[in-house]
Amino acid sequence: MIMEEDPRFRHLKRKIAIFAVGALALIAFVVVLIGKENDLFTSKYNLRFTVPKGTGFTRGMPVKLSGFRIGRVSSIALNEAATVNIVLQIDKKYRQWIRRDSRARLLKEGLVGESIVEVSVGSAEQPVLGENEVIAFEKTRGLDELADDIAEKVKPVLIEVRDIIAYVNDPNGDIKQSLRNMHALSGNLEVTRRQADLLLLEARGDMGTLSVKMNKVLDDASVTMHKAGTTVDQLDRKLPALLEKTENALKHMEKIGGDVGEVTGRNLPKVTRMVESSQHALDSTNEVLDAVKGMWPISSRMKQPEEKLLVPGDSHE
């Protein structure tokens, strides 16, 4: 028989047994390894919280504390109030750090990483959370909410920037006009510079002509001064004689004045008497005339000045 003669089949049952035991051990080992990997053999406890919406939560989502995995989301269920009850399964060995003031938050690791539930470390003076107790949930803002918030804040800034750009670009605005004016000014400055250059050149020429003329004027002035000097000399010679003659003339005039005064003094009383006599004669004549005016028939012809003579009152004027 083949089984009895082939050495490979000798002690076959023993070999099969050994293989089976070895395979079972291996399977058990793998199971234990996997179990250890998935924390199947660690003791756990549950914590729970309620959220308005279960968006972002998934069963099996890791629960981390200080970046270290301490458990997983074991259950997500809708309750009667249409909110969502989340149950966390946490390893008991991490219990000591999860206290009453610990907070659970839904986060994304990195910008596009997986979502996790992060539990914050509680204060030592607070009591440890027990089995099935409620841990406080802190809502964090999602990326879309952050984006809306940033958009709200950025929007007015963008509007202002748009207005500023419109103001700067306005062809009739101050900036453009100022630029135009500056451009025109710079153009005019160039023209002015050229004209100033021409003026300087002309002035240079004129200065030469002017200096020639000034020299001539100075020469003429020198001649005139010389003539004036000659004239002054002549005056100097002739002036004393002239002054002497003037003095003599003044003396004569004084003498004449004295004579006139003497004559006047002698004859003035006579003139005064003549005037008085004339006045007297006039007064006498007036008296005679007044008397004659009072005589008939002259008085009847004489018009007496009316005392109450009024300017005629005209109702119209």
Partner: protein, 306 residues
């Protein structure tokens, strides 16, 4: 009796007779103080100056008269001088001085009762010149009350003028017609009455009556030679003719008014007449003549740089 004795006797008789006649006929008269006589002379000269149109010189003469009368406390003389100062000042356009002088004259009425009518008359004229119709009316009524007969036409005319200026036409008409009653009025006041009645008729659009009254006023004013009033009468006649639709006659009258004003050499009174003539000529279709007149009106303004 010898002939020589008779001749001597005749001669002595003639001498005695002439002496007696002189003594009887001579009127010793009232001897006025020298200051008063001098004041009267100043007053007379002032009246003469007003007649010649020299109003400034007239005020000086009247002021001298006032000073002299006041120096001898002669209230009637001072009142007369003040009334004359008021009149001359008013004619110059100096209403303030006129009001002051006539106010002082009113204070002297007690010493010169016969002058009350004149003083109130003058005060009414001053207030009328100042456009204070209520006070003008008050003084005009007082003037009329003071002298119901003497100077009545002028008082009535003044009341008529005040009423006319105040828009009370019927009352103005009554006063003006009253002024025409009787024969005490002068040609001057008759002319004033007719002129005023003409204005009242124009205001009431009674053009025929207006023409008649202005024509009468013109007749009287020509008698007395009042050039300014003749021009006014002609202007009124022109307006009446225009109202009646007789445009040619209106233009002719207005031209005569312009000529009279020109002779007075008073630009202020000439220009309104020229303007009216230009308007009439434009209405009558004589645009070229009107343009000439407008040019004449514009010339002095251009020359003065206005």
């Amino acid at each position: 009796m010898s002939s020589s004795y008779r001749g001597n006797l005749a001669a002595w008789g003639l001498v005695v007779l002439s002496l007696v006649a002189t003594g009887c006929a001579g009127t010793p008269g009232k001897v006025l103080p020298a200051a008063q006589v001098e004041a009267i002379r100043h007053n007379s000269r002032g009246v003469e100056e007003v007649r010649n149109g020299h109003l400034d010189e007239a005020v000086v003469e009247f002021s001298d008269a006032l000073r002299l009368h006041s120096s001898i406390d002669n209230a009637p003389g001072a009142a007369v001088a003040l009334v004359n100062i008021s009149r001359a000042s008013r004619l110059k356009g100096d209403t303030r001085s006129a009001r002051e002088a006539s106010g002082r004259a009113e204070a002297l009425i007690a010493g010169a009762p016969g002058l009350a009518g004149e003083v109130f008359f003058e005060q009414a004229k001053v207030e009328l010149a100042a456009n204070d119709l209520s006070r003008a009316r008050e003084f005009a009524l007082r003037a009329d009350k003071e002298s119901p007969t003497a100077g009545a036409p002028s008082r009535k005319n003044l009341l008529a003028l005040v009423s006319f200026r105040g828009g009370v036409l019927e009352e103005a008409r009554r006063y003006a017609e009253k002024a025409l009653e009787g024969s005490s009025g002068s040609d001057n006041e008759r002319a004033n009455s007719h002129r005023l009645l003409g204005e009242i008729a124009l205001a009431g659009k009674e053009y025929a009556d207006a023409g008649r009254h202005f024509a009468e006023a013109l007749r009287y004013d020509k008698n007395i030679g009042a050039a300014v009033k003749i021009a006014e009468d002609l202007r009124g006649l022109s307006r009446a003719m225009e109202g009646k639709g007789e445009l040619r006659t209106a233009i002719a009258c207005q031209e005569r008014a312009v000529n009279v004003r020109r002779s007075l050499a008073d630009a202020a009174s000439l220009y309104p007449e020229l303007r009216r003539l230009a308007e009439l000529l434009e209405t009558g279709g004589e645009a070229s003549r009107a343009a000439g007149i407008r040019e004449e009106l514009a010339r002095p303004q251009k020359e003065s740089g206005r």
